[in-house]
Symmetry: C2
Subunit: 200 residues, 2 copies
């Protein structure tokens, strides 16, 4: 069967993977179209056969990152179907761990590096799907009396925002040593989440 045309059967995905690897090793500032092409073993103009511009590659990398995040989140939620409160706690832990393990992918997913995310349907879709998953858990928590009544979407934004904000501040080195010296990021996030849940 057709082994490979030039270098890959699927250069598009090879480029996305190369991008994620560069992100992990050299950070956001090191992510260059030409480097990505080099790492994938093609000329610097080859990527343009698959992505109209650098923004599009970043969108594809972010989308892949969101897919991984969704998978982890979903697994954490499914592992705790008996207890909505535990679903929220485990989901939050998974989200936080993803940010710690894939710092620069996380940063690029939520950084202004991607300027017009609305132009990338796959990105919008998985990001909405992820949010919906959070809303589901919030609803379950409300039914169980763990979260107060009210718009589950608004409450989800509130909870997601808090978790996301603490992680962001931590990744940017904005959390004072006084606090980070005594608590891990996971502990701080967990403490914050605890505050939002009904105490009984």
């Amino acid at each position: 069967m057709t082994e490979k045309t030039y270098h890959h059967g699927d250069l598009k995905n090879a480029l996305i993977q190369a991008g994620i690897e560069i992100l992990a090793k050299e950070g956001v500032a090191g992510l260059t179209l030409r480097k990505v092409a080099r790492r994938a073993g093609v000329s610097h103009s080859a990527p343009y056969a698959h992505f109209p511009d650098k923004q599009s590659l970043i969108a594809a990398i972010s989308t892949e990152g969101f897919n991984q995040l969704y998978t982890l989140l979903d697994a954490a939620i499914l592992a705790n179907t008996a207890d909505p409160r535990q679903q929220l706690i485990a989901g939050t832990r998974a989200y936080t761990q993803f940010a710690i393990d894939h710092t620069d992918t996380f940063k690029i997913m939520f950084s202004s590096a991607l300027e017009k995310e609305k132009e990338y349907p796959a990105f919008v879709e998985i990001s909405q799907k992820t949010f919906e998953r959070v809303v589901d858990v919030v609803r379950a928590c409300q039914s169980a009396g763990v979260i107060r009544p009210g718009s589950p979407e608004l409450l989800a934004v509130t909870i997601w925002g808090q978790v996301h904000g603490i992680i962001s501040l931590a990744l940017e080195g904005q959390i004072p040593h006084l606090v980070l010296g005594e608590h891990s990021i996971q502990e701080i996030v967990s403490f914050a989440l605890g505050q939002m849940l009904q105490s009984q």
Copy 2:
């Protein structure tokens, strides 16, 4: 008296101002050392007499942004000395409004654009000073029974993180239309803050 040597008496500050203006007009992606120099009316290598590299200019711009933010925050707090709860609400509103009014300055202050913030003492100082101001208000709220007892630093991280996270998600277009269609950012932040305060 010495009017000006070449172009300015103070090219350093002129460059910082030019940077902030470019940020406001062209966004983070448009911020280029060469553009900053052009706007300040000097050659593209002139900035190197005042900043060792682009990172340093970004640090200076971020520091200036933090100074402005601190001023607004401080004013909001001082305008409500009688009521700690109102201090927190007004401070949060000022923080949020700064992010809305100076989106790209805000982004660069907290984005990974500044990679080694610890290397810039002025930046670290004003950022710590800002955090301390929040801690002060949290303490006052605790004394007034508006915030539960516990480490004021940890609680400050929690509150700041939530406000910061909601703003960040909003600026990145990550808050679903379903929610943003019904509430302004100020309303969402205000709702979230209300959740964190004791209801009496």
